[in-house]
Amino acid sequence: MKQDKHGKNHKFGMVVDLDKCTGCGSCMVACMSENNVPFKEDESNKKDSLTWMRVYKITNGKSFPETEICYMPRPCMHCGGKGDHGHSPCVSVCPAVATDYDHSSGIVSQIYTRCFGCRYCMGACPYHARYFNWWDPKWPEGMESYLSPDVSPRMRGVVEKCSFCFHRYQEARDLAYVEERDDIEEQEYQTACTQACPAGAITFGDLNNPDHAVSQLVEPDAHNCGKPKNPKAFRLLERLQTNPKVYYVSEREWVRKAGDNYLDGEWEKVKNNHGKDHG
């Protein structure tokens, strides 16, 4: 019997440099185009607008001319859950096993044909990263011709979300197989948003691999749920212990603080020992 296991597990993750992000929206469109995400006549109701990758705009709340803004791209966080056991908020509640945690890649999968649209996962996701197809997708006449065979178009009534362009991983592995290599190179598997970003703000790779840029940028602490050792790095709602695999980096303190909700005085306690803080 041939060995089908791929050595040690990957843990694919993303680092977004918020000081580089310009809010241009290339990542959003690259994602939509890569993943056959449909569009409607009116997309201004953002609650029903399917955007696997969404760029949020945050401000420091100060008045003119002290105002600052920052753009924050938000894909699916691919939460590993506490201790990286795969108990991400969505996976824990899915009654259909339509969404699942893959330990070999650290990616949270979504199988559209399995989903029956109960939307528990949407309620459970603290990042609003999941979207429900309220309508059947419709393309203007002829436009179906540009759909990619790598990702199935979804139907009405199912939930969809970012997959870290998992199909690109599959394709990279296929190439490695036929070239009889054991594993893929860092550059062989990059998400569509990473590739498109004109500012180079997004970095993608294996957080378990110390040679990969993502590991070097945030220095995830393997003994502390992957918390970043880099004091300029943070994760969204870190204290929920969802253990996301998307990290953000910013030199600006107010931006880092915006990554979670802090009571008065709380931020002062954690801001300097960020990364060393347990729990």
Binding site: C24, S26, F39, T59, F64, T113, A192, G200
Partner: protein, 716 residues
């Protein structure tokens, strides 16, 4: 024995048992659950062999290299071309959305002829014959000088063919849509006495001082600027943004200087005063290149632009001005840049000259990281145009707008109604020019309008004949870089798909019309096809273009530094005032460029519209941005429906409060408010700001220098 209820019971039970032990039920259950997973109307994209085709994007003047992923020859995804010298792999959202333009619902599928209020589909032969006949009639009537063409970009061989065609007929009325490049050209003529354009070596500059440019909002060559901006930190470079509103560029900059609207030139002149009075200017360039007017300039600045006076005008503290001037001029490779927003409109020459003055004083002309004075693109070498007597006579008459401004041309056309025929290629002036209503009226008054467009846009809707064009993904075209780029690269767009509809390359359409007209007009176009023409006129460049998809024309700064003539700035030209009086209109409305909205000749794609925030577009309403203070003074709050009124018109909008905009200033995004019935993704969404703003012609450059307009706003 009788048949009773038990018999039926037996029948039912027997049937149930029979079915139960047959496979039917179980198989049907499985099949029906599968059936629910595959609806016939959910498309199933066909799989196949993956290939990549390279081409060049022409949706904006950036001209990025694209790599188009195809499945069995069917394009499915656009990505940035990693080995392309402009964008090295990056790509903006409009480029990524490119495939949507192929199947855009407003695409024109076949040639059209106007009959009354509607269009009638006709054959290409008939359409070309119709245009040739009509133009010949005008020419034969001795009115050839009243034929005009308007193209989108002014460079490259397709605009070249249009210009040549109109010249061969005997007219000088050849226009391209105005951009900041035109203002730079005029500024260079005034300040260096050279014909050329200005490029900025942003990727090597260590101090970029931007006067309202949207460096990361689509200015110039967007992706190239994104990259330069992004590498700033690694290079230890600084970006200072001068702007009354916290744009994305301002937010991303190291320092944001919130100067009052339209005081950019004052700030630049104030800085120049600090630099000169402290003898901080580049002495080498002073000796070798500072020409006439320097003493007059020194005196003028001393008199009018002391830090205190400038602080008064701009609202920036005098100490900040002095410090900024010193930091700028002492930097290793500083560069000052102008051209508001995306740089898609010309702007005031006073402002451009004042900003360029800083470059001259810093001595960074034609240096690494500085401003490069580039000679005009001249790789395309055309044979002489042949003209008969009528054409030779007609060409003696001057162009309707001597400055070459398309805004000026339409103003004249609207005023004297003297244009006999207009050819429009890839441009949409009825949407993109200030005072869109007046431009529309002017076009309506032209008896014969031919549109070479891919889409049924506002201008094409007014055409008499529509000759549908290939989109950029279906055509061959040379695309020279411009738009503020220092390095020069000419790209070659190549078709990545067979034409989806019955369209032509506009270059081929022009060739066909010229041939149909015969005589010297036909003789001026000796090529069988546009591609043959392209290969012939690009000469030396062709092998690079065809082999690698681009040709790098210039990568290092020009060797010589032209001398500086300070006379124009020393005369202290007057600022361009906003239309309207403060008494009637207390606020100032400024247009703002949003990188996610295409504001030029092409409408935004459905994907691009989808990314637009709900604080910019909500349903069909555009939101105008104002400081909470402004809102309070006008009794407005977030989300209110309001009427905004300017001297040029009024519109219903919604209110979006934003702390980052200067009180007293209201901003509205450009590129919304399309009237394109077929394209429901843009049609009727928001308001076209060009309907609220008119052109303000700059006497110094002859170009439209509008930067805003006075306005008032009240609850609807």
């Amino acid at each position: 024995m009788k048949i009773d209820r038990r018999s039926f019971l037996g029948l039912g039970l027997g049937a149930a048992a029979g079915v139960a032990v047959s496979p039917a039920t179980w198989k049907l259950m499985d099949d029906s659950s599968i059936w629910t997973q595959n609806w016939s109307w959910t498309p199933v994209p066909r799989d196949g062999e993956v290939t990549f085709d390279n081409t060049v994007c022409s949706l904006c003047p950036g001209n990025c290299g694209l790599s188009v992923r195809k499945i069995d020859g069917r394009p499915v995804k656009i990505e940035g071309r990693a080995d392309y010298p402009v964008n090295t792999g990056g790509v903006c959202l409009h480029g990524v959305s490119g495939l949507q333009y192929l199947y855009d619902p407003s695409r024109i599928k076949t040639p059209l002829k106007r009959t009354g209020d509607t269009f009638e589909a006709i054959s290409w032969d008939d359409a070309l014959e119709l245009v040739a006949t009509k133009l010949a009639e005008i020419k034969d009537a001795g009115k050839a000088d009243r034929i005009a063409c308007v193209t989108n970009h002014g460079v490259g061989t397709i605009p070249g063919l249009f210009g040549r065609f109109v010249k061969a007929l005997g007219s000088n009325n050849v226009y391209a849509m105005d951009t900041m490049d035109k203002t730079w050209e005029k500024t260079l003529e005034k300040m260096h006495g050279v014909h050329g354009t200005l490029g900025f070596d942003l990727e090597n500059s260590d101090f970029v001082l931007s006067f309202g440019t949207g460096l990361i909002e689509g200015w110039g060559s967007p992706v190239s600027n994104f990259k330069a901006n992004s590498s700033r930190k690694e290079r230890g470079a600084t970006l200072v943004q001068v702007e009354p509103r916290l744009s994305n560029t301002a937010a991303n900059a190291d320092t944001w200087i919130a100067a009052k609207p339209n005081t950019e030139a004052d700030l630049a002149l104030g800085m120049a005063n600090v630099i000169i009075s402290n003898n901080l200017y580049n002495t080498g360039y002073y000796v070798s290149g500072f020409g006439p007017g320097f003493d007059e300039l020194t005196a003028m600045l001393k008199e009018n632009y002391s830090p205190e006076a400038v602080a008064q005008t701009t609202g920036i503290k005098a100490a900040v001005i002095v410090d900024l001037a010193k930091r700028f001029v002492k930097a290793g490779a500083p560069v000052a840049i102008a051209g508001k927003g995306k740089g898609a409109t010309p702007g005031s020459m006073r402002e451009f000259a004042a900003v360029h003055l800083l470059n001259c004083l810093a001595g960074n002309i034609n240096t690494k990281g500085g401003a490069w004075i580039l000679s005009p693109q001249d790789y395309d070498q055309w044979p002489a145009v042949e003209m008969d007597d009528a054409a030779s006579e007609a060409i003696e008459k001057p162009a309707m707008d001597p400055a070459g401004s398309v805004a000026g041309f339409f103003a004249k056309a609207g005023a004297d109604k003297s244009v006999e025929a207009l050819l429009i290629s890839d441009a949409n002036p009825c949407f993109a020019l200030a005072d869109a209503q007046a431009v529309t009226k002017a076009v309506q008054d032209i008896p014969f309008v031919v549109s070479f467009s891919s889409f049924m846009d506002e201008t094409t809707q007014l055409a008499d004949v529509v000759l549908p064009s290939h989109t950029f993904l279906e055509r061959t075209e040379d695309l020279p870089s411009g738009a503020g780029m220092a390095r020069r690269v000419t790209g070659l767009a190549k078709p990545v798909i067979d034409p989806v509809f019955n369209t032509k390359n506009p270059g081929d359409a022009i060739l066909a019309i010229a041939k149909a007209m015969e005589g010297t007009v036909g003789d001026s176009f000796p090529w069988e096809s546009y591609e043959e023409c392209l290969e012939a006129v690009t000469g030396d460049l062709w092998s690079d273009l065809s082999d690698q998809g681009y040709a790098a024309v210039q990568e290092t700064p020009p060797a010589t530094r032209p001398s500086v003539d300070f006379t124009f700035v020393a005369q202290n030209p007057a600022p361009i005032a906003a239309e309207g009086t403060e008494a009637d209109f207390a606020l100032i409305l400024v247009p703002l460029d949003n990188v996610r909205i295409a504001a030029g000749s092409i409408a935004s794609s459905p994907f691009a519209v989808k990314t637009v925030a709900d604080t910019v577009l909500l349903g069909k309403d555009v939101l105008v941005e104002m400081n909470p203070e402004t809102a309070k003074a006008n009794k407005l709050s977030q989300g209110d429906l309001a009427v905004i009124e300017t001297p040029r018109g009024k519109a219903t909008v919604k209110v979006n409060l934003f702390e980052g905009i200067m009180p007293g200033v209201v901003a509205m995004v450009k590129g919304l408010g399309h009237a394109m019935d077929e394209n429901r993704y843009v049609n009727g969404k928001g308001v076209n700001i060009n309907e609220l703003m008119g052109p303000v012609m700059d006497a110094d450059s002859g170009l439209d220098a509008v930067w805003g307009i006075r306005a008032k706003i009240s609850k609807a």
